[in-house]
Amino acid sequence: MPTLTIYDAVGAALTEEMRRDHNVIAFGEGIATKRHELVDEFGALRIRNTPLAEGIIAGTAVGAAAMGLRPVVDLLFAPFLCYAMDELVNSAGKLRYLSGGQFSFPLVTLAMTGAGWGVGAQHNHNVEAWFVHSPGLKVVMPSTPADAKALLKTAIRDDNPVLFFLDIGLLYQPGEVPAGEHLLPLGQAAIVRDGRDVTLVSYGKTVHHCQQAADQLAGHGIAAEVIDLRSLKPLDEATILASVRKTGRLVVVHEANRLCGIGAEIAALVAEHAFADLKAPIVRLGGPDAPAAASYPLEQASVPSAEAIAEAARRLCST
């Protein structure tokens, strides 16, 4: 099996989808510069650099998608999505509904997110919950190169606007990627480790922290089940609920700040539908309600660590 980074997996997915479908185009802030091999293969009309103007990039993608193209836009860093909120939320997410279903908006927005580069809060902000809260959009955030490739291919084929977040901290981590056509449906979580005692639910880089925590917990005789959501909207509620019904304990972990984050939704979901199966209170681990710091130790401190996750799970298992 070939080994790729998430960055390369994105390139591979783009290449394969652009070969497969001539309506797939890509533009953004330096995409033609950074992925010049795509320009070589597909030409300067299908892979374009743009001004550093996120609003018009996203708006152009919305208009192009409505009229039959399948644009993928690269907006670089997640906080820059603030400039594209109107086009993504008010146009891409709403105009299908407002038009009574006359239009669809098959577009993918790529953005890097999270801690790892010490770039500070205006380049590092986990904003995925904003888009989960916006109707008409889908939200994906993979944790491995294989999933990144398979989910991006699916996102490009999806007839709806998809926000595709790439975790900066994982971008250049290598991983095995199946050769050939490999797709994953949006909305299907992965059970990356089976366990009977406690469920650890996460996405993005903290999935790996959960796996490390599960290793530590195994040393204490606690079998943790680790779920990688992969897609936040649609959310694989069934997998989460089935796991909690089995283990009776839940720790939800994400890097985004805890307040009104995805973890709150998952905690509420479990409280509504699996309360009777819970043996202990639900625990949410997330970042603080503070902008991300540039200082590396501070930045890292805002991300739930494997130790913190293991400690939370141990406490739950002792109640």
Partner: protein
């Protein structure tokens, strides 16, 4: 259904303006009577819409905004389906989910109507990009106001359209008002057309209350966009005579300025011109008015008879 061909004679231009006025007055009255929600009318701006839309070919695409009635009706929209949409009924162009503010009619080439000021400008390059990359012949016409011209999206849109050679006819209906702000309080220049030069985009300002002048200017502009494959900006100078959102007492409007523009009503001017040129008799004018009134009456009856959408429509059409 394909869009109907442009009006071939000046009487049709007048009739379209009358239809737009009568349609919007029906909404104003319906709103006052509590039968319809408030709306943003284009009363006073009919010549700008009719002149431009009649310069277009059937394959051309239109993006518009919350004051879209003129663009839709000039393009051949059925006033009954439009009124049904305004009233939130099932037979509206958007199944009653748009209301008056964001009516799109893909079958008429009226795409992507947005009421976020400036959003139509942000989407226009993408629509034009699709036309050109998919090898379709139509140009893209984007209607916006002077308010939208003050949004960043206007400048970003013109820059990208010029950079990427996109076939967009930008039509600024400069109606002097940006919600409750006069354009002179909000614009650093007198004319929106002045800004186009900075992007190397040809532009022209035309009397937006003279339907024949608008038609001529729009035909020339559309031809230039079609032949060059590049953007053009046409500014139609007009006036929003009924205020922002119905009902609006316009207490904030300079009475002398309003009176000046009311005296330049595009419909009265168009009718006077046709009468003076011998292209319309008083009897024909009366017949035309009756015909329009009866079309609106039929439209209103159709809309009122249309059922409200069923509750299960609430979550349909969110995702494709």
């Amino acid at each position: 259904m394909t869009p109907k061909p442009p009006a071939k004679n000046p009487q049709q231009l007048l009739e379209q303006m009358l239809l737009i006025r009568a349609y919007e007055e029906a909404i104003v009255n319906g709103s006052a009577a509590g039968k319809m929600p408030g709306t943003c009318t284009s009363v006073g701006q009919e010549a700008a819409a009719v002149g431009v839309v009649n310069a277009l070919a059937a394959e051309d695409l239109i993006l518009t905004n919350h004051r879209s009635a003129g663009h839709l009706l000039a393009r051949g929209a059925d006033p009954g389906r439009l009124l049904a949409e305004v009233m939130g009924r099932r037979d509206g162009y958007c199944k009653g989910k748009s209301g008056s503010l964001h009516i799109s009619a893909k079958e008429l080439g009226v795409v992507l109507t947005s009421t976020i000021v400036g959003a139509e400008l942000s989407m226009a390059p993408g629509v034009a990009l699709a036309q050109s990359m998919l090898g379709r012949p139509g140009i893209v016409v984007c209607f916006f106001g002077d308010g939208a011209a003050c949004e960043g999206s206007f400048h970003e849109s013109l820059n990208l359209a010029a950079l990427w050679n996109l076939p967009i006819l930008y039509v600024c209906e400069n109606n002097h008002w940006q919600a409750f702000v006069h354009r002179r309080e909000a614009m650093s220049r007198e004319h929106v057309a002045d800004w186009a030069a900075g992007y190397g985009i040809p532009a022209r300002t035309v009397d937006g209350n003279d339907v024949f002048a608008v038609l001529e200017a729009a035909q020339a502009a559309a031809t230039q966009v079609r032949e060059s494959g590049r953007p053009y900006l046409l500014e139609t100078l007009t006036y929003r005579t009924r205020g922002h959102l119905e009902p609006d007492d316009q207490g904030y409007v300079d009475k002398a300025e309003l009176a000046t523009w009311l005296a330049r009503d595009p419909i009265a001017a168009g009718r006077a011109r046709l009468l003076a040129d011998g292209l319309l008799s008083p009897a024909q004018a009366a017949t035309m008015a009756d015909k329009v009134a009866s079309r609106i009456a039929v439209a209103q009856a159709f809309a009122e008879a249309s059922p409200f959408p069923a509750a299960d429509e609430l979550t349909r059409d969110v995702y494709a």
